[in-house]
């Protein structure tokens, strides 16, 4: 167990510098975004109310009050989240291929460690999960700070103050911050299952090379089909026979099967089939 944790720590440290850059970009972009967007609004209000003598009530009627919602829709706010997500998606592939490709084939060392090879697979998956949770945690820390900044820039009369609870229910943030346990299972469980399916597909490619690409695609398609089977059957064969809660539990079951299938297949490939 301790060697597994050491491996997770090692994998995490390999991404650490890039992770810091992503954190920096997110903090800068979102904080600048709060200042720029709320100042724009205040400047516009000043222009209309004080220079064009528009009554405040009419300005609010035309432009609406200002809330965090106005910020969470902008590129300043969503851009770095998208960037982090894109980097993480690329990293899901890179975390494996960088060990195989290039002059320094670290995969030799990883596969010759005196630990179960499944630990290598799980350590990489854990790293991806930690990075994702790190980004979510950063966002959770930033939201109240950004909200406080907004309160200081925009006058009370023009402000629709949202609580943190209301902010995280914004449509753009809902996937990041599930409000119920079932949503958490659905979003994060689904996300992890997707990562493990990609990991296993990569191991198919690393085990059988060109043929493996074909096997990997077939395997991924089969996994998605199994995962979506309850929804597809309910929609097209049984014509909405199940209650949503029944469907949810069936999805949970198929999701678990797909996740375990990915780990089992990944373990089989990395132990018996993979080649360096």
């Amino acid at each position: 167990m301790s060697r597994y944790l050491k491996l997770v720590n090692f994998e995490f440290n390999r991404f650490w510098k890039l992770f810091l850059v992503l954190i920096g970009i997110t903090i800068l972009s979102q904080l600048i975004g709060v200042i720029v967007v709320s100042r724009d609004y205040v400047n516009q209000a000043n222009k209309m109310i004080y220079e064009a003598s528009m009554p405040m009530s009419k300005f609010i009627e035309q432009n609406g009050t200002f809330s965090f919602h106005n910020i969470s829709q902008t590129l300043w706010f969503l851009g770095p989240i998208g960037l982090c997500l894109a980097v993480l998606i690329i990293y899901v592939f890179f975390i494996w291929y960088r060990d195989w490709l290039g002059k320094n084939t670290f995969i030799y060392r990883l596969l010759m460690l005196p630990i179960a090879r499944l630990h290598v697979y799980l350590a990489k998956a854990t790293t991806i999960l930690l990075l994702m949770l790190g980004i979510v945690a950063l966002q959770l820390l930033l939201l109240p700070i950004e909200n406080q900044m907004l309160l200081r820039i925009v006058p009370n009369e023009l402000l629709a103050n949202l609580s943190l609870n209301e902010i995280i229910k914004e449509p753009n943030l809902m996937i990041m911050f599930p409000t119920t346990f079932s949503e958490f299972l659905l979003y994060y469980g689904g996300g992890m299952a997707a990562v493990l399916i990609v990991f296993t597909a990569i191991l198919f490619e690393r085990s059988f090379r060109i043929k493996g690409v074909f096997y990997g695609i077939l395997y991924s398609a089969a996994s998605i089909l199994i995962f979506l089977a309850p929804i597809l059957v309910n929609e097209f064969i049984l014509r909405n026979y199940f209650y949503p809660l029944e469907l949810f539990f069936m999805e949970l079951a198929t999701g678990f099967i797909v996740l375990m299938g990915a780990v089992w297949t990944g373990n089989f490939l990395i132990t018996k089939k993979v080649r360096v």
Binding site: K6, N104, F106, Y108, R109, L111, M112, L113, P114, I115
Partner: protein, 229 residues
């Protein structure tokens, strides 16, 4: 003892190993010789379970390879197995973290022997020095068997001599070594056993001392005979 029994391996339609069998004993240096592409590296990788075999069996001390085996056997491939951004000291820490058989004293001794510094960054080392670090990481482990793939390939004569020196030192004593090389001249006098391979088949397996004494032939003489035939 490492036992390679009737091992077969195909890449696509090409038979790379075609029933390869040989043994390598502890305390002896066994050399796999053959031209490029005959399957020497594949055999090494197969022993270490870094490539699956299609048929046959490989046993290390009578057991199939498992996670614990990597504390008893190590493989030094012809590329560095550590991250380029690491310093040698980082590589030492990594090895100490994961291997019970890591011997820091021996690592320091080898570092001195190869005239390297712990603060050296792997990416900044010459090819010769990178090969030495690779060798160092393998030899600093208290293992029974060391597998080396082309340790002399593409490095300067001085580094080659230094690496060859390792074979006569206490660092190799009592270990079983399997080595693949083209540079047979450098270590001909050091090897105990030769396995000549061609097109995935063992052409001849012989004890160098025996051939020298009974037939008065060197390894290169035997190689010439076998390959010309």
């Amino acid at each position: 003892m490492i036992e390679v029994k009737e091992v077969t391996k195909k890449f696509g339609r090409k038979n790379v190993l075609n029933g390869v069998s040989f043994t390598a004993e502890k305390g002896k240096i066994t050399c796999l010789i053959g031209i490029n592409g005959v399957g020497k590296t594949t055999i090494m990788k197969a022993i270490m379970a870094l490539t699956p075999i299609d048929g046959g069996e490989i046993l290390i001390n009578g057991e199939k390879i498992h996670k614990g085996s990597y504390e008893k056997i190590t493989f030094i491939p012809d590329t560095i197995t550590m991250l380029p951004q690491m310093k040698i000291s980082d590589a030492f820490t990594f090895m100490a973290d994961f291997y019970d058989c890591w011997n820091q004293e021996r690592a320091s001794e080898l570092l001195q022997f190869f005239k390297l510094k712990e603060s050296d960054r792997i990416s900044e080392l010459s090819k010769g020095n990178t090969a030495k670090v690779n060798l160092l990481l393998g030899l600093a482990m208290d293992v029974d068997y060391v597998l080396m793939d082309e340790p002399f390939s593409g490095i300067d004569i001085f580094s080659r001599e230094q690496i060859a020196e390792v074979f006569t030192s206490h660092l190799i004593e009592n270990r079983g070594v399997i080595i693949t090389t083209h540079e047979i001249n450098d270590i001909e006098h050091l090897i105990d056993k030769v396995v000549l391979i061609d097109h995935g088949v063992v052409l001849k397996e012989f004890d160098t001392e025996e051939v020298r004494e009974s037939e008065g032939k060197s390894v290169i003489d035997v190689m010439r005979e076998v390959y010309k035939a």
